[in-house]
């Protein structure tokens, strides 16, 4: 092992330091050198993605801190595009030798023509969509423990609760991107998660319920009793589960509530199928359908990145593009796709700023940011009142989709029967399934009540997870298969 005298320090800011601010993670002259190396054998485009991410978690159970973790993820990814082909290599070894090696590995994809053009690096001004007042680095463990303890105390005071877990996660992500078309940009992305899960037993029944929040903000998000409020919500959901009957089985009208009722449906049934990598390879159910009327004219779907503190908000995407508002469906007509640089270039379309990656070890893909269904003309009560027998879904947090055919599913966490236009008893334990293009045509009513503030999720694709926002107003789908077991 090398002795202390040989240790000369890392180029990255020290652990816990917020003082680095927006200082680039790699100097511009090194970025220029690496870009030149990456394009040495030719190619249309190259970029460098340097990252230092600090993750902290705290798990509070049984009235005490069960565990804490502190994780640093740092390294550099170098990418070269030559025609439709992409070469990618990474280094978490920050010395120039390792970085040059990665640049040469990525460059090997190119045909060997040489002489690719490159623009001088300039730094664009970024918006600030992640205002943050209290960082993890600036607060001691005691303050974070107090937040978790507050939620725990509230939850465990309920006599039905046999176990309560409170999880607090904070991520501070610092990235620098340098591109061969001249962008040199550094951004800081905070992320905060608070999660409480309560488990209870009553007779033969064992149930678990949770409540959670995910935002791009600091610990100030949890001020004003937020942890206790989340505990109250988790307990409410637990009580609903104990009161719930078996979900019905079969095809029926389904009303998805605003907030966390319809976001996963929109994400799976529509969003993934409009990602341009699937589109351009002909693998999506929406391939070749641009310009077609794919839904009821009530339906307008967008993907945006500009809602401050939203989990899916971005100042800049992972390819150095300042994200635009992307229109996907306008009054039922398919008008756009979610593009990254490669898909945009190959399809001759404008780049929408949807190039995202989990971290420097992964290549960017076209991904959603904050995906929403625009508000419609109907009052939410009017929508429920229009249903004779159906299902009202309050919380459906996750799902998945087969991109090729468009078949999707999502899981119901909280739902109620609708009988004769009124909400009836709660039901539990069902997934809902449908086909994306078909369900779009079956959207019959849309509420006025869109609220994208807190609906969030983690989106997985190709082995990569990214934070997203998603939401709909109250929406009625005529006929969706409900996978319960009851009458």
């Amino acid at each position: 092992m090398k002795g202390a005298d040989d240790m000369t320090g890392s180029t990255f800011p020290a652990l816990d330091s917020d003082a680095g601010g927006q200082r680039p993670l790699i100097p511009a002259d090194l970025a220029e050198t690496l870009l030149a190396l990456a394009l040495e054998r030719g190619g249309d485009y190259a970029d460098i993605y340097a990252q230092r991410q600090t993750n902290r978690t705290l798990l509070f159970e049984e009235g005490r801190v069960r565990s804490t973790t502190h994780e640093v993820v740092q390294g550099v990814g170098i990418r070269v595009q030559d025609g439709a082909a992409t070469g990618y290599a990474t280094s978490d070894d920050l010395d120039p030798t390792g970085l040059r090696r990665a640049a040469r590995q990525a460059a090997a994809i190119a045909a060997g023509g040489g002489g690719s053009s490159r623009k001088a690096l300039t730094t664009p001004t970024l918006p600030d969509r992640h205002p943050r007042r209290r960082t993890a680095a600036g607060t001691d463990l005691g303050e974070r423990v107090a937040l978790a303890r507050a939620a725990f105390a509230h939850a465990s005071a309920d006599p039905r609760v046999t176990w309560a877990s409170v999880h607090l996660g904070e991520c501070d992500d610092l990235i620098t991107i340098a591109t061969s078309d001249g962008i040199f940009v550094t951004d800081r992305r905070p992320r905060l998660n608070f999660f409480i899960e309560v488990t209870g037993v009553a007779g033969e029944r064992r149930e678990s319920a949770y409540a959670t929040t995910g935002v791009r903000a600091g610990l100030e998000w949890l001020d004003h009793g937020k942890p206790e409020a989340l505990a109250v919500e988790a307990l409410r959901r637990l009580a609903v589960k104990f009161a719930a009957a078996e979900a019905p089985v079969g095809s029926m009208p389904v009303v998805l509530a605003a907030g966390v009722g319809g976001g996963a449906m929109l994400h799976e049934a529509v969003g993934h199928g409009l990602e341009a990598d699937f589109i351009r390879k002909g693998a999506s159910a929406y391939s070749d359908r641009l310009g077609e009327q794919v839904a009821n004219p009530l339906v307008t779907v967008f993907d945006r990145a500009d809602l401050p503190t939203n989990y899916g908000a971005l100042n800049v995407d992972d390819e150095g593009i300042i994200p635009h508002h992307t229109s996907l469906i306008e009054q039922g007509r398919l008008v756009g796709f979610l593009n990254d640089r490669l898909s945009a270039r190959l399809m001759g379309m404008a780049c929408s700023g949807n190039g995202r990656r989990q971290d420097y070890r992964h290549i960017p893909q076209p991904r959603m940011r904050i995906t929403g269904l625009a508000p419609g003309p109907h009052h939410p009560d009017e929508i429920i009142a229009s249903i004779g027998h159906g299902l009202y879904v309050v919380c459906a947090p996750s799902g998945s989709v087969d991109i090729s055919k468009g078949d999707f599913n999502f899981d119901v966490e909280e739902a109620y029967l609708i009988e004769h236009g009124r909400l009836g008893r709660p039901v539990r334990g069902a997934c809902l399934i449908g086909n994306g293009p078909e369900v779009l045509r079956r959207i019959a009513m849309i509420g006025t009540d869109l609220n994208l503030a807190e609906a969030f999720g983690h989106c997985g694709k190709g082995g990569q997870s990214v934070p997203v926002g998603e939401g709909t107003p109250t929406v009625l789908i005529r006929d969706l298969v409900v996978g319960g077991r009851g009458a």
Binding site: M1, A4, M7, T8, G9, S10, T11, L15, L30, R64, V65, S67, T68, T69, H70, E71, V72, V73, G75, T86, G87, Y88, A89, T90, D92, L94, D95, A102, A108, L141, T162, T199, V201, R206, E207, S208, A247, V249, G250, G282, A283, R361, I363, S398, S400, I403, S404, K405, D407, N409, F410, R428, G429, A430, C431, I433, V481, V482, G483, R485
Partner: protein
């Protein structure tokens, strides 16, 4: 530019444990480094090539009364290692006490002495160029199998070698290597107005044991095209035959429900069922970490507990949970070396073929694909999207899509009526086909 010197895994291990001891703390360091590549072909051309390398190390520091902290970094410089020890130590000094938080006893730690054959000595002979050729050949085989199959853009080959090191402040030092390779093909088939797809893959420890591109591509293509002409199944209760792939997913859910963390929190439907008849008496489940050359084989678990074979369910009776050290102490359960989850979890095969089971079922749903994750491990409620084939008079009648199947896991495990002879030898979690009563089909 000023740079840090990168430490090797064993140097990092020595530094981390020295530092912990210097701070009068106990603890351990788990380090992993990896290298490899993934290549993707599209229309016979090279679409993407990723060169993969990196690593991470995790330090767990243990103070008085089980106070502890954990920190992880991908920074293998000396300052990176020192910072991570400092972060873990700081947490250990101010955390709460926990009587169950101790290091594993020394006799439990170690590497199994069985030759596992999980590190391919010829690993470097499998180059990214060969991987590309295999990926392109897989794609070509898929397209040759049926004219309805077009390019999908999702044919890949991959190769990876991991090195792991575990060191404790008690002087234990373990290290081992493992290789894994894969060949994946998503076949997308088009008819006039419909697309169908099927994902097929082969995985192995040794690249020469991968199934051939022609087999992987052909299987993906034919399975995708077999879905054309689908209908919905009749709704209501019906027997369900899970094929080996979906039965493996069903078994994986039981693996999660038997994990010590879910059990001691009371967050699993299997809580309190140790020693009881959990499943049909036909069911025996083992975890086999020492299988020769298998994808889930390992010499020890993520905490360094030596691997050993374990019977989990015997003739329907639950005889062991899957526990890490902490859960073992909390539950007063023997150590089973399951930090990080199951290794090769196997439901023991029967003698009947899948066709035999279909004949026994006579009329019902053969499930070949699940969608979604709607399973509540606490209550045991199961509801997922399903696709497959309708079986009439013991024979496949037509493909089925856009249905759900739902049931309660305790009843479904009791409802296993027959077990096939066809587990997937390449999967870490593998079950033969299962004929199960107790599902309700939704359509």
């Amino acid at each position: 530019m000023i740079v840090a010197v990168k430490l090797t895994l064993s140097e990092a291990a020595a530094l981390a444990t020295d530092r912990l001891r210097a701070g009068h703390l106990r603890g351990h360091m788990v380090g992993e480094s990896f290298e490899g590549w993934t290549v993707r072909s599209f229309n016979g051309r090279l679409d993407q090539m990723d060169s993969i390398s990196g690593g991470r190390l995790t330090v767990t520091a243990l103070g008085e009364d089980g106070r502890h902290g954990k920190a992880t970094t991908s920074d293998f410089s000396e300052s990176g290692v020192i910072e991570v020890v400092t972060a873990a130590s700081a947490a250990a000094s101010i955390g709460d006490s926990d009587p169950w938080m101790t290091l594993l006893p020394t006799p439990v730690l170690g590497l199994a002495e069985t030759a596992l054959a999980i590190d391919d000595p010829e690993w470097q002979a499998f180059t990214a160029e060969q991987g590309f050729a295999m990926s392109a050949a897989t794609e070509a085989a898929a397209r040759a199998a049926d004219p309805r199959v077009g390019p999908s853009g999702f044919c890949n080959a991959s190769s990876k070698r991991r090195t792991r090191v575990l060191a404790t402040t008690d002087g234990i030092r373990l290290s081992w290597h493992a290789t894994s390779v894969g060949l994946q093909c998503l076949a997308v088939a088009r008819s006039d107005d419909e697309r169908q797809s099927f994902f097929e893959e082969s995985t192995a420890r040794h690249w020469r044991r991968l199934r051939s591109p022609s087999v992987v591509g052909d299987t993906a293509a034919k399975s995708a095209c077999a879905k054309f002409g689908w209908r919905r199944a009749p709704a209501g209760p019906a027997p369900v035959l899970l094929d080996a792939r979906t039965a493996g997913e069903f078994l994986a859910l039981l693996g999660q429900a038997l994990s010590g963390g879910a059990i001691y929190r009371g967050r699993s439907w299997c809580t309190g069922l140790h020693g009881t008849d959990l499943a049909s008496p036909l069911v025996t489940i083992e975890d086999a970490p020492l299988m020769h050359g298998a994808i889930g084989s390992r010499p020890c678990d993520d905490e360094g507990a030596r691997s050993r074979d374990l019977v989990v369910v015997e003739d329907g009776r639950l005889v062991s949970y899957l526990v890490d050290g902490y859960a073992a102490r909390r539950l007063d359960h023997p150590y089973t070396a399951h930090a990080g989850g199951p290794s090769n979890l196997r439901l023991r095969a029967g003698k009947a073929s899948r066709d035999d089971l279909a004949r026994e079922m006579r009329r019902g749903l053969l499930v070949t694909g699940f969608t979604g994750f709607s399973v509540d491990l606490a209550s045991g409620e199961f509801s997922r999207g399903a696709s497959g084939f309708w079986v009439e008079d013991g024979k496949i009648a037509h493909p089925i899509q856009e249905v759900t199947i739902a049931g309660r896991l305790p009843e479904l495990w009791q409802g296993i009526r027959a077990i096939g002879n066809d587990p997937d030898p390449e999967s870490a979690i593998a079950s033969p086909s299962l004929l199960i009563d107790g599902f309700i089909i939704g359509a």
